[in-house]
């Protein structure tokens, strides 16, 4: 029982990380049709910005908790700003040129990771976090590391926040309509490009948040962490249905749990089981669990 509880909570926490990355990817693709291969680099930049600012603030802020909070805010701001800048400078000129967009985001991903390696080196770094995060809490006989609960709560909060944003705000309305029919949104007099930048910034912020949490989850940050997690986030987006936030959330939970359960039974097979799950989903529902599919889309 205790093993099952531990696997379930850690699986949900892993799913939470995937969701934070996948939500931005899904919104960006749904609205703009951009497959953003640089999204993993936003995660890396966010985690490095948080780590670097934490190091720099050591002499200024004595409290670990406060320093951690400030450095997380800086990491998120940097992630959002870099993502917005990428949209404005690199993606916008290539609007509707999908092949070029893919090439640019792949190239950018390599370049940003190389830049991080060149500046901070290829070695791993450790985030300075409040000790409570690395402690454990008893649940169903299992000692579950506290950061798992934080990841789940943060992802739940982001999901609720995103849904509320999409449901109740003018920009949310524009994004939901734009995912359906971008041209018609502009034909109503709306400058959809502002929504593009906003969606990129939100995606960058969520990815940076995932970067910080991944740094805690894996007890380290390294330049390639974002790229490794991006592969699973893409799988989550496809299983959930491109453009669907709820779909991404459901798929992220499924992928996280399956990966943990299978890896427990047979270490290393978890990744394979996720790919198998992707293949089965595509065969049964080509548009994903919550997506629409047509042969021409």
């Amino acid at each position: 029982m205790d093993t099952f509880v531990l696997l379930t909570v850690t699986g949900l926490a892993l799913g939470a990380l995937y969701f934070l990355i996948a939500s931005g990817l899904s919104l960006i693709y749904g609205l703009m049709g951009v497959l953003n291969f640089a999204h993993g680099a936003f995660l890396t930049i966010g985690s490095y910005a948080a780590w670097w600012s934490s190091v720099k603030l050591q002499g200024t802020i004595g409290s670990v908790g406060l320093r951690f909070a400030v450095s997380v805010v800086i990491g998120l701001a940097v992630g959002a700003a870099v993502a917005a800048l990428v949209e404005l400078v690199l993606i916008r000129p290539l609007y509707l040129r999908h092949i070029e967009q893919v090439l640019v985001t792949v190239g950018l991903s390599f370049a940003l990771i190389a830049l991080v390696q060149a500046y901070w080196g290829p070695d791993i770094h450790e985030l300075d976090v409040p000790s409570w995060l690395n402690g454990t809490t008893g649940l169903g006989g299992a000692h579950v590391p506290n950061y798992n609960f934080v990841e789940i709560l943060v992802a739940g909060g982001v999901l609720a926040g995103l849904l509320a944003f999409l449901r109740f705000t003018r920009y949310g309305l524009i994004i939901r309509a734009g995912v359906e029919n971008r041209a018609m949104v502009t034909a109503l007099g709306i400058d959809v490009k502002k929504a593009f930048t906003l969606v990129f910034a939100i995606g960058g912020l969520a990815a940076a948040l995932a970067g910080v949490l991944a740094g805690i989850h894996f007890s380290e940050i390294d330049p390639t962490q974002g790229t490794s997690l991006l592969i699973f986030a893409f799988i989550v987006v496809v299983i959930g249905g491109l453009g669907s936030i709820v779909g991404s959330a459901v798929a992220a939970v499924m992928v996280g749990l399956v990966q943990q359960y299978v890896n427990y039974k047979s270490s290393g097979i978890g990744d394979l089981s996720v790919v198998l799950m992707l293949a089965i989903t595509l065969l049964i529902r080509p548009g994903g669990l919550f997506g629409k599919w047509s042969p021409t889309h």
Partner: protein, 228 residues
């Protein structure tokens, strides 16, 4: 003239769809754009909206539309009711309308007066509406704001005769205050609404003049529109 189109060309892939279209639209009333299927009527509307890239000139009260992005064309006062309605299926009727509001003074009273059913169905998803109801949403979206020119593309397509009459009635009311450029295949609707007509054939204008003169000449109607 509120709208002037000069030597408009549009290429879609390898096809030269509009081959130097020129016409003028007088202020007020309805000007119909007619022609057989595939002659470039919808492409003309889409070019005026900036939804396809044209070459040539199209001016609204002297302002060249061909260099502007779609949203700025709309903000100049060009409303658009697209062919096939293109309502946002996942949004409610109320959300479809709210999205179209360009400033604080949206004409909800006018729209609900024309289409009382839309008020009752405000919380219904637009994708679950019938074709006629979706057309109401599409027209209502455009009428929420004051337009200098309203482009309406085949509003009666696929509708039952009763609904065709209802849509024609709404457009007749709208034309009392707005200039309408109307693509329409139903000649009885054109006869009822249009003061002027423009006929396209193979991407070129082959007739401009009073709609009444065109429609009363059966031989010309048969030749230009392929209608007996």
């Amino acid at each position: 003239m509120i709208l002037e189109v000069e030597d408009l060309h549009v290429y879609l892939g390898q096809s030269h769809v509009l081959q130097g279209v020129s016409f003028s639209v007088p202020e007020g009333g309805v000007t119909a754009v007619l022609g057989r299927n595939g002659v470039g009527k919808t492409t003309t509307m889409r070019a005026l909206m900036g939804l396809v890239s044209p070459r040539g000139r199209a001016t609204l009260a002297g302002v060249d539309l061909t260099r502007l992005p779609t949203h700025e064309i709309v903000r100049l006062g060009v409303g658009y009711v697209p062919e096939d309605r293109e309502v946002f299926a996942g949004l409610t009727v109320e959300e479809n309308l709210r999205l179209a509001v360009r400033n604080g003074s949206a004409r909800y009273d006018l729209v609900y007066d024309l289409f009382p059913e839309l008020r009752e169905r405000g919380q219904q998803r637009a994708g679950t509406l019938s074709g006629g109801q979706q057309q109401m949403v599409a027209i209502a979206r455009a009428l929420l704001n004051e337009n200098r020119v309203l482009l309406v593309d085949e509003p009666t397509k696929g509708l039952a005769p009763l609904l065709v009459a209802e849509v024609a009635e709404v457009l007749a009311k709208a034309s009392e205050t707005e200039t309408i450029l109307l693509v329409e295949q139903n000649l009885s609707v054109v006869e009822r609404l249009a003061r002027d007509a423009i006929v396209l054939d193979q991407g070129r204008v082959v007739y401009t003049g009073p709609a009444k003169d065109l429609l009363s000449d059966r031989q010309r109607v048969r030749t230009l529109l392929g209608v007996a």
